[in-house]
Amino acid sequence: QSTAFAAADTRNTDTVRLTWGFHGLTLIAKERGAFEKALAEKGIKVEWLGPFPNHAPTLQAVTGGSADFGFGGSTTPALAAIIAGSPLVFSQFVLYEPRTTAIIAKDGSGIDKVSDLVGKSVAVNRSGLGEFLLVAALEKNGIDRSKVKFVYLNPPDAAPALASGKVDAWSMWSPGVDIARLEYKAHDIFLEGRDLDFYIDYSSYVTSRKFSQENSQIVRAVAAAYEEEAKWVNANVVEAETIVQKRAGYSDVIRDQFIERRRTYKLIPVTDKAFVADLQKAADWLVARKILPEPITVSDHLAQF
Amino acid sequence: MTAALQDVPAQDAPAAVRVFGLRRAYGPRVVIDRLDLTIRRGEFVALLGESGCGKTTLLRALAGLDPIDGGRIEAPKRPAVVFQEPRLLPWDSLWRNVALGLPAEGAREKAAAALAEVGLGGRLDDWPRNLSGGQAQRVALARALVQQPELLLLDEPFAALDALTRIRMHVLVKDLVARHRPGVLLVTHDVEEAIALADRILVMRGGAIAAEHRPSVPGLPAATRATLLAELGVVDDLKSA
């Protein structure tokens, strides 16, 4: 267990306030209820806050003290928030396989490989995984960034833009990209899991430094509960995907795609030195491309418990 | 006496306005019923009647401002009207108020002349809100007079004026009548005024014209005065109370 070298065993509250969104472990944990039971056994009451549309507001909520944990979103906004001075620490990392973030274009658009993007416009979400993937894809193919037009669009707005041909391609994560691929008859040009041999971005749970110091017991218990949840999900792909689909409301076809891919979650404790080194590499990559404004030492921002 | 200015209009002068069997009701309240009236060009008609008997209603109908519920009105498209209130545009200076509706060319000069005639020549660029009650009424009168209309409808235009100013305004109106010969309908509560100005005096009662007098033609003004007051319900005894 990740709790091997507990520094202290502290706790000053009975309730832990967790944020959630419409994806991944938090949703399943909240819907299934086993998570809450597991924590209740340790005398911890769970309060679910949400849903949150994306990662940044959860970080705000944690920073402002109205929540205790982020909802397991991308590491990049978390790193940016830490650089900007938010007293956040990582409590746990998540690696899910396969990685499905992709750059897609409509069938018959004549765009089939990354080099076809020259002179075209690509929708990306600003400062998010979509933008990073496009940058990485262009670099890998030796194309200058200025040759492609980046169009900053939030996912819900990018979809109709692609559908009506206002942009030529779209760099986006799941499930949006999967729905779009199917509904707008699009295909992959660049798929993270297939075409990119390193990680830019991981998922992560964050908490405030203060909370992690004052409630190491709870932080530990939450991490353990998420591990249990991940184990269940990995073992029950069909049920898990059905739970997510029920709340998200997308079609059975999409759900079946996910089931087929057998998406699995691997939870990584903050004590995993090798992983932290990988994350440091990813952070440096982002800093080198001015996506993160300043260098950061990841190991300074891990929960101590 | 300025009687020389004031020719009695020939019986065959063209009509300025004709009304046949007019009827006007506000909901169930019938205010005008089977009223007939003809005013010839150049003729000065005064209209007397109790407060609330329908004088303003008649004027508004003649001006084409209200729908009518029966009968027929033949009136010029654009009579000039002095309403019972001054109705000045608060956002326009006095001269612009007077010039309202005049062609832009020479409007300021005409307005200035008219304002001078009503004794407000020095206040062309003043705001209406700075006027006294009588001054506002005079601006409204000036605005109607510069129009040089075929039909002039005056609803108690001198009510807020002192005796001297009132006489000056009388002269102005009579002057206009002599020059441009419009038909004039003057609503007033002042019997003396009616006698002094009008060729014909009408008394309105029960929604129609109840009596008609021609003070300048037969008998003495004094006799007309007594008759009129009696018709308006005033016993001379009460009057001096």
Partner: protein
């Protein structure tokens, strides 16, 4: 007589009734019924054209699904889904926020309209806050109110407050100074002054503010319900957007439009009731 110069005004009820009742408005060719029917012409036409475009495949359903599809979605959500619950939740939030924000704004508006001192103290701050977009405020609101109902109601109240505040001060400024003088001469207390003269005089403007803010309440909910909401129309819309459910997105748009119509009818009803004395508002023709 020279007929050329004359118009014959016939005894037609063609002119607007009662001189000042509808003065600027031309001859009434259409009765109130016909006008009511006409007022639905544009929306109905729009829906028809849209259905035809969708049916003929001129617009792709991913961009704009056909009205018939939207109706089916509505029916499905209403019967097996959460639509009634969402609508109810949003309505409740809108109502509470409206009452809270509306009353505060109303009081502030009266103060500012009434006293130059209050204007100096309050007005500039309000004008500053008013210019701050909700989206920009959201982080602060989360910190202050957390992510519960408080935050949503606060945002609605904020959104409702500005139109009511602004139009209340406008209305009070437009109250005829002569009537205020009359009130003073008749020895009215401050309270009577407000209830007997200022409020009735300012009412046309205030009701326009209410009309405006009835819609604003809903707009505020869209932003408010993107965070920490589990039900509500804004939540439904966000959710559908996130998962590219175009039919649901369009459904929420239609719901908003219908809410606009209802809010507008409420405002008109209030106008008819409360402004019965006003020739241009209370007239039976509306």
């Amino acid at each position: 007589m020279s007929q050329a110069d004359h118009t014959v005004t016939l005894a037609l009820p063609g002119l607007a009734a009662g001189g000042s009742a509808a003065p600027a408005r031309g001859p009434r060719v259409f009765g109130p019924r016909a006008l009511l029917a006409l007022s639905w012409l544009a929306p109905v036409l729009l829906v028809l054209v849209w259905e035809i475009l969708a049916q003929t495949g001129y617009v792709t359903p991913q961009v704009l699904p056909a009205p018939s599809k939207v109706v089916r979605t509505a029916w499905r959500l209403a019967t097996i889904g959460s639509l009634p619950h969402d609508l109810g939740t949003s309505l409740l939030r809108a109502a509470v926020g409206f009452v809270l924000g509306g009353s505060i704004a109303f009081v502030l508006g009266i103060l500012v309209g009434f006293s130059r001192l209050a204007e100096a103290l309050i007005d500039r701050s309000v004008q500053m806050v008013r210019a701050i977009p909700f989206l920009a405020l959201l982080p602060l609101v989360i910190v202050w109110f957390g992510v519960g109902e408080g935050q949503k109601i606060f945002l609605v109240a904020l959104g409702v407050a500005f139109p009511i505040y602004i139009n209340t001060t406008l209305g009070i400024r437009q109250v005829d100074g002569k009537l205020l003088e009359l009130g003073r001469v008749q020895g009215l207390s401050t309270w009577q002054m407000i209830t007997r003269i200022i409020l009735p005089g300012a009412l046309p403007s205030i009701l326009t503010g209410v009309r405006y803010s009835l819609a604003t309440a809903w707009l505020a909910l869209v932003v408010a319900e993107t965070i920490g909401a589990q039900a509500g129309i804004g939540f439904l819309a966000m959710d559908a957007r996130e998962f590219l459910r175009t039919d649901v997105v369009v459904l929420t748009i239609v719901i908003y439009a219908l809410i606009g119509v209802v809010a507008d009818s409420i405002a008109r009803l209030l106008e008819r009731r409360l402004l019965a004395w006003h020739p241009n508002f209370g007239g039976a023709a509306r």
